[in-house]
């Protein structure tokens, strides 16, 4: 809290600074005018640089964004986060969700001319699932027990156990197919270079400055695309916005909430607002008093006015959670329209029933970013109205992760302001890591220490079949149980905000906070 004032000041200053930075942006030497560099060059400014270019060893959204342009997967996600065919024109799964067979498009070649066939696919997944290779995304593929090359264009995956969500793992932005010739050049090579089969080819990466890609004229799907993509890391929010306004960038992400108004008022640019699949919530430690009592947990939900959080704290770019997961997740269905109702009287009644008529004191762990502090303060004020004294304990990311992931016996957590974005876009990964008994820290992120055998059984059932209709039903039922058990205060789901220069198309901010430029194009401005 000590730094709260200054951080906020800083943000306000930079926010107001957009106008100033804009003036300089126009004359700044740091970028050439977008489009000045050739036929159709699209310039993109993002908040950070890529960390690596090896998809299976990637954990950050920026790297995944760049990799998505150059690499194809067997399947991928549409900009709306629905699974779509990429290298595999079709696929089928066995009833028991243990065998997945993909039929590849014929005659596809990698950018280096290497043929893309079933053997190449097998080689990629064998590399990724070998624990000796110690790749960050091991768990996406570690359930595979064998991979068979049926013929040149057919590849079959057999799993150790049924895993009904496997298709979503294949669509995950990290499960991309790299040219075997590039893999042969070693880890260092593929961490710095990309040889894929996607709509854009890798040209160069100057760390800290730019990544350059060019259109792949041989791509199997012929859609009009820009000739060149230049992706620049522009760390400072105000500079990024200034680049967009000055015409030095066609797409920027993110735009912080405080600067959206400035951008939406400017001419020649539009704000792209798209729903994320990030669910914000407060986990309550279900194994310790006072949150052992479900009435207390429900009372906490009644005590929070979600409309204030949505409209004031989140400036309107959010909506209340109406389920433990969010719209856009495969298998989501709403539990309570409009979210958990705001009812102070009911909250108080439930608290006195539970023996806390006089309220209690508790501590909220959170990150120390400005938005987290704002949210924490709002919760503190609302809970005060039902007699609950909330101590705020904001922590630096590394410390926070260390205390949160302590095993149950040593874990001191009471309340945790947190959230989750399921990178596979599927209900299993949206719920199981957060609410299964097996997911208690340090295994995964069940920081509420929620435990319900009925819920555990449902999660297992959801993985035992790949039949999406059946899975939808299972998750619709289990989310109702979770909602009533209220292991969390269900808060909100927000929008991702990007800026687009008129004339640019096919540039999307996606629900998982990565971007999709696979069909990026530039018309007349």
């Amino acid at each position: 809290m000590r730094n709260g004032l200054t951080r906020r000041k800083l943000l306000q200053f930079t926010g107001a600074g957009v106008a100033g930075a804009t003036l300089f942006g126009g004359g700044a030497p740091w970028v050439r005018r977008a489009g000045a560099q050739g036929a159709r060059t699209l310039t993109i400014a993002l908040a950070a640089d890529a960390v690596t270019l090896d998809p299976f060893n990637t954990n950050d959204n920026l790297s995944l964004t760049v990799e998505r342009c150059v690499y194809d997967g067997l399947v991928g996600f549409t900009p709306d986060y629905k699974v779509r065919p990429e290298l595999a024109a079709s696929w089928e799964s066995s009833k028991d969700a243990k065998t997945f067979t993909f039929h590849l498009r014929p005659n596809v070649k990698f950018h280096d001319g290497t043929p893309l066939n079933a053997a190449a696919v097998k080689l990629n997944f064998d590399r990724a699932r070998d624990p000796a290779n110690r790749l960050i995304r091991l768990s996406l593929v570690s359930m595979i027990s064998s991979i068979d090359v049926v013929n040149e264009t057919t590849v079959r995956f057999t799993l150790k156990d049924p895993f009904g969500a496997m298709l979503f793992n294949f669509a995950h932005p990290a499960t991309r197919i790299i040219s075997p010739a590039a893999i042969a050049k070693g880890e260092d090579y593929i961490a710095r270079n990309m040889v894929g089969s996607g709509p854009f080819r890798f040209v160069s990466w100057t760390p800290g400055q730019q990544i350059v890609l060019e259109r792949n004229p041989d791509y199997w799907q012929s859609v009009s695309r820009a000739d060149r993509l230049i992706i620049k890391p522009v760390v400072e929010d105000a500079s990024r916005v200034a680049m967009l306004l000055a015409g030095d960038a066609h797409f920027i992400y993110p735009i912080p909430g405080v600067q959206v108004d400035a951008v939406s008022k400017a001419s020649g640019v539009t704000v792209q607002k798209r729903w994320s699949i990030y669910a914000n919530w407060v986990a309550m430690n279900c194994q310790h008093a006072p949150f052992q009592d479900v009435r207390v947990r429900q009372a906490m939900n009644y005590a929070i006015d979600k409309s204030v959080i949505v409209n004031v704290v989140e400036r309107g770019y959010a909506r209340p959670l109406d389920a433990p997961d969010t719209p856009g997740v495969a298998g989501y269905s709403p539990v309570q329209a409009g979210g958990w109702p705001y009812d102070v009287a009911k909250a108080k009644a439930l608290l006195s029933e539970a023996g806390f008529a006089k309220g209690f004191e508790t501590t909220l762990w959170s990150g120390n970013q400005t938005d987290q502090l704002r949210l924490g303060e709002a919760l503190q004020q609302m809970l005060a109205k039902v007699g609950v004294t909330l101590r705020l304990d904001p922590m630096e990311a590394g410390t926070l992760s260390a205390v949160r992931f302590k095993p149950f016996a040593d874990n001191q957590s009471q309340m945790n302001l947190a959230g989750w974005s399921p990178s596979t876009g599927d209900a299993d990964w949206a719920l199981r890591p957060l609410l299964a008994t097996q997911s208690w820290p340090p295994a995964l992120f069940n920081i509420a220490f929620y435990k319900n055998p009925q819920v555990d059984a449902a999660f297992a059932a959801g993985l035992a079949t790949a039949d999406q209709a059946k899975r939808n039903k299972i998750y619709a039922d289990v989310t109702k149980v979770i909602w009533n058990d209220a292991p969390w205060i269900f808060l909100h789901n927000g929008q991702n905000l990007a800026g687009v220069r008129n004339g640019a198309s096919g540039v999307w901010i996606m629900a998982d906070n990565t971007c999709d430029f696979r069909e990026a194009d530039l018309g007349a401005a």
Binding site: A21, R137, S139, V235, A402, S423
Partner: protein, 295 residues
Amino acid sequence: MIPILLGVSLGAFVFLHAIPGDPARMLAGPDATLEDVRAVRSRLGLDRPLLVQYALFIRNAVAGDFGRSYRSGAPVREVLGQHVGPTLELSIAAIGLAVVTGMGVGTLQAVRRNSLPDYASTVFSVAGISTPAFFLGLLLIYVFSVDIHWFPSGGMSGLRSLVLPAVTLAAASAAVIARFTRSSLLEVLGEDFVRTARAKGVPGRRVLMRHSLRNALIPVVTLIGLEFGFLLGGAIVVETVFTWPGLGWLLIQSIGFRDYPVLTAEILLFSLQFLAINLVVDVLYAALDPRVVYA
């Protein structure tokens, strides 16, 4: 020098590992399974005993290899190399500014002791010493970039973007140098040899520049050396406020990721800078004071 660096490396190693936070967990991300985290831990060599890790670090460091950044996988030398330039540029600009204004103001104060300019500049230097850099930085951003649009509010884009961070960084140093110059010069001005010089008719300017100031400079040079050392390492706050991509900024980024190799190398680099500056200062003594001779 070698024992000092060895001690620093041990201290850095111990303290960095004592900070809560697991680099493997940070790198693998919040949605990583234990399996993923173990894979990363083994990739980074963090699954080995601490003593072995330290021994390996020292062995490689002696050969000039500081390992690879946990975050990017790039060699640490390469990572530091990208950030040394901006910090040097900023520190040199700041120390230049601080020395010129600090010594100028200090001399003026000493010569015009107890006059209005003396009092006025005393107020300014006390304010300079006591204003924290982050506050001054924000104030300057507010006035000069938000209000009157003279300079960019952050980032590194040409000379104009250097002005605000350099002024912010120089302010405190300039104030300290001014105070030191003033008191040191006052002391010298009261010495017998100055009176003698004046008595034998040496012109006032010459008395000041040749006889007094040169004598008064010895403690000031020590101070400037120390200040420069602080600027090189202590630009953390200013670099963060102005998103200046230097070593201080890198330090903050690396702490966030618990990037031990980058952090250890940075701490060693900062110590080395201090040692080097102290050496330069010692040599400067000899230039200023003929009595000091290094055999």
